[in-house]
C-alpha cells in the first residue's frame, strides 16, 4: 500500500489512523485507532449498522471478528514496518459474551514473530478490560524479510 511504502521509504512508522482511514471496510465499520506510545488500541464506536441481533440487541459476530482481524493487521504492520498488508492464513475466534450496543476496544499481541508467518493473539472488550467479549488467535503471512524491498 502506498501509505506503507511511503513510511518505509522515509524510515518512519506509518500513521495508523491514516492507514485505517485508507481501508474502505474499516471506515465502513467505523474503526478508529488510539496510540499511546507503543501501545495500540483499536476502537469500534457503537453504530446501529453493526447490529447483528436486533432483539437483544447485540453486535454482529462478524463485526467483532472483523475488529479482531483488523487489530492484528495493524499491530503487525506497526511492528514489522512492512510495505504491504499482511494476509490472513487462519483465525480462530472465541466468543465469550454478546457485544452490547456500546463502544468496543481491542488490542493485539504478537506471540511469535516468524520470518514469513506471524502468530498473533487479539482480545476485545467493552466497559471492563477483564471481561472479554471475544478473543482470537491467528496466523498472518508477511513477505519474508529478504524479499522486502
Amino acid at each position: 500500500m502506498e501509505i506503507l511504502k511511503q513510511a518505509q521509504d522515509n524510515d518512519e512508522r506509518v500513521d495508523l489512523a491514516a492507514l485505517v482511514e485508507a481501508i474502505p471496510y474499516n471506515k465502513f465499520l467505523g474503526i478508529q485507532v488510539d496510540q499511546k506510545g507503543t501501545e495500540i488500541t483499536t476502537i469500534l464506536p457503537f453504530i446501529q449498522q453493526n447490529i447483528g441481533n436486533p432483539v437483544l440487541p447485540a453486535l454482529h459476530g462478524g463485526v467483532i471478528a472483523s475488529l479482531l482481524e483488523t487489530t492484528a493487521i495493524i499491530q503487525i504492520v506497526y511492528e514489522t514496518k512492512g510495505a504491504v498488508l499482511p494476509k490472513p492464513i487462519d483465525l480462530t475466534i472465541d466468543y465469550m459474551r454478546s457485544g452490547r450496543p456500546q463502544d468496543t476496544y481491542a488490542r493485539a499481541r504478537i506471540t511469535k514473530h516468524g520470518r514469513r508467518v506471524m502468530n498473533v493473539h487479539v482480545e476485545a472488550w467493552q466497559e471492563e478490560h477483564t471481561k472479554l467479549i471475544a478473543a482470537a488467535q491467528g496466523h498472518f503471512l508477511i513477505p519474508a524479510l529478504d524479499e522486502q524491498n
Partner: protein, 162 residues
C-alpha cells in the same frame, strides 16, 4: 420437516435477515437457497467491503462475517423448533484472496446438533465450491439467551417501534 415447512422456515429466516438485521442489510447479504441444515448465501461485491485499496480485494473480516452468518442460518435450518443461537467459536482458514468485482458465495452445512451445541462447516467461494476462498468450522450454543426465539412478528414490532 417436509419441503413446504422448509420453504416456510427459509422465507422467514430470509425475511428476518434482510429486513431486521442491520449489519446484514449493510453488507447486502442474501439467502439464495436452503435445505434442512444447509444454506447458500451471496454477498454482492461492493466498494465499502474492500480491505486492500491497491488491489480491490475484499477484507478478510467480510469473509468472516459471511461465514459466521451463513453458519448461523444453517443451524437455524437444522433445528426442529426455532430457538435463539450464539456463536461459541469459529475457525476460519483463508485459502486465496477473493477476486475483485466478483460476488462472494457461501455454503454452510450444520452437520450435527446435540442438546446444547450445533456444529457447522462453511465454505466461501466465487463459482466453484471446490476452489474455496475460505472455509470455516464453528460451534454454536443453542437456546443461548434462554429467551423465546424472535418471531418475524416480534421482530417487525420491535423494528417499527424503534
Amino acid at each position: 420437516m417436509d419441503k413446504e415447512q422448509i420453504k416456510e422456515r427459509v422465507d422467514l429466516i430470509r425475511d428476518s435477515l434482510i429486513q431486521y438485521v442491520p449489519f446484514i442489510k449493510a453488507i447486502g447479504m442474501e439467502v439464495v437457497d436452503a435445505d434442512i441444515g444447509k444454506t447458500w448465501t451471496r454477498v454482492p461485491y461492493a466498494d465499502h467491503l474492500v480491505g486492500n485499496p491497491d488491489t480491490g480485494v475484499i477484507h478478510g473480516g467480510v469473509i468472516s462475517a459471511v461465514l459466521d452468518n451463513a453458519s448461523g442460518v444453517a443451524v437455524r435450518l437444522a433445528l426442529e423448533e426455532d430457538q435463539s443461537i450464539a456463536t461459541l467459536d469459529l475457525r476460519i482458514d483463508y485459502m486465496k484472496p477473493a477476486t475483485p468485482h466478483v460476488d462472494l458465495n457461501a455454503f454452510a452445512h450444520c452437520y450435527k446438533v446435540t442438546k446444547n451445541i450445533a456444529f457447522v462447516r462453511s465454505t466461501a467461494y466465487h463459482d466453484d465450491i471446490d476452489d474455496p476462498i475460505a472455509t470455516s468450522v464453528g460451534a454454536f450454543m443453542l437456546a443461548a439467551n434462554r429467551a423465546a426465539p424472535p418471531s418475524a412478528e416480534a421482530m417487525q414490532a420491535l423494528m417499527s417501534a424503534a
